[in-house]
């Protein structure tokens, strides 16, 4: 599983990578997940439905991430734009 973060002036940046079935890796991913949320990021998981449609799920906790997903994308939380 890869954690990617969108960055201004860069595109996506690899934050962490690991196998969730390996305890040490999972612990590291959990820590990174929390760190990103504390920094105000939102997290989304790209998914594919049974019909082959691509969709996305927003996740608020590490436990919500499907175990089989290969990447989680972090991006800055939404804020109301020009008034």
């Amino acid at each position: 599983m890869k954690f990617l973060r969108m960055r201004p002036g860069y595109g996506e940046q690899l934050l962490a990578e690991g196998d969730v079935e390996v305890a040490e890796d999972e612990e590291r991913l959990v820590e990174e997940f929390r760190r990103q949320l504390e920094q105000g990021m939102w997290a989304a998981v790209p998914v594919e439905t049974e019909t082959g449609r691509r969709e996305a799920e927003m996740v608020r906790a590490f436990e919500d991430i499907p175990r089989t997903t290969d990447r989680v994308i972090f991006f800055p939380r939404a804020a109301g734009g020009a008034r």
Binding site: P76, A78, G81, A82
Partner: protein, 212 residues
């Protein structure tokens, strides 16, 4: 005598030039010193680097392409925006706009760094503008602004994953506040034509059969 006159003329010319050029040279020197100090401090806004921004956008496009559906990617590539159907969010609860619309299908036009526009595909009626940004306050290169395609992907994922949450964070306005309604109507028309052409292209390929 002639030499003395020439020397005097040269001195006068040099003095006049000095008067004219001195403020300009002093200003340039100040700018140079300020830039050097800023670089030395590692502080302030780094210069705009078009190459870096282009590479960032290229990465963002690849990421977008890998996440959205083929049709949506083609739409963005060809038209510069993506249509996302409303009320399909994976989050719990009623669709955001369905109460007002009595079940009529609605959709959003998603542009990079512009408000999300809700509209009725059946009639083309514009509903609302939702002004929303994804500012990265860490400003890794001096700017809070994501690359264009990352901004589109962030909106797409948020609408798909939790439409209600995204819309509740946005500032809602009537259509026309930031995007010209004529441009929107034109884009809706372009989208319709684009879809018809794709359908006709697909039908034509099926009629011809697999290439040998």
């Amino acid at each position: 005598m002639t030499v003395a006159a020439l020397a005097a003329t040269a001195i006068v010319v040099l003095a006049l030039l000095w008067e004219v050029l001195h403020p300009w040279a002093a200003r340039k020197l100040d700018i140079f010193r300020a830039n050097r100090a800023r670089r030395a401090d590692g502080d302030g806004l780094p210069g705009y680097d078009p190459g870096r921004e282009r590479r960032a956008e290229q990465r963002a496009r690849e990421l977008l392409k890998s996440c959205v559906n083929e049709e949506e990617w083609a739409m963005y590539r060809d038209l510069g925006f993506i249509r996302v159907w409303g009320g399909e969010s994976a989050s719990a609860g009623d669709p955001v706009l369905s109460r007002d619309l009595r079940g009529a299908p609605y959709a959003y036009l998603v542009y990079p760094h512009r408000p999300i526009v809700a509209y009725l595909p059946q009639t083309g009626r514009l509903l609302n503008e939702y002004c929303v940004e994804f500012p990265d306050e860490t400003r890794p290169y001096g700017s809070t602004r994501l690359p264009d395609s990352d901004d589109v992907l962030a909106k797409w994922m948020a609408l798909k994953g939790d439409e209600r949450r995204l819309i509740s964070e946005a500032n809602m306005h009537l259509p026309g506040r930031q995007i010209d309604p004529k441009m929107l109507q034109r884009d809706i028309w372009r989208l319709g034509r684009w879809e018809r052409e794709r359908l006709e292209g697909a039908a034509g390929r099926h009629a011809v059969g697999p290439a040998d």
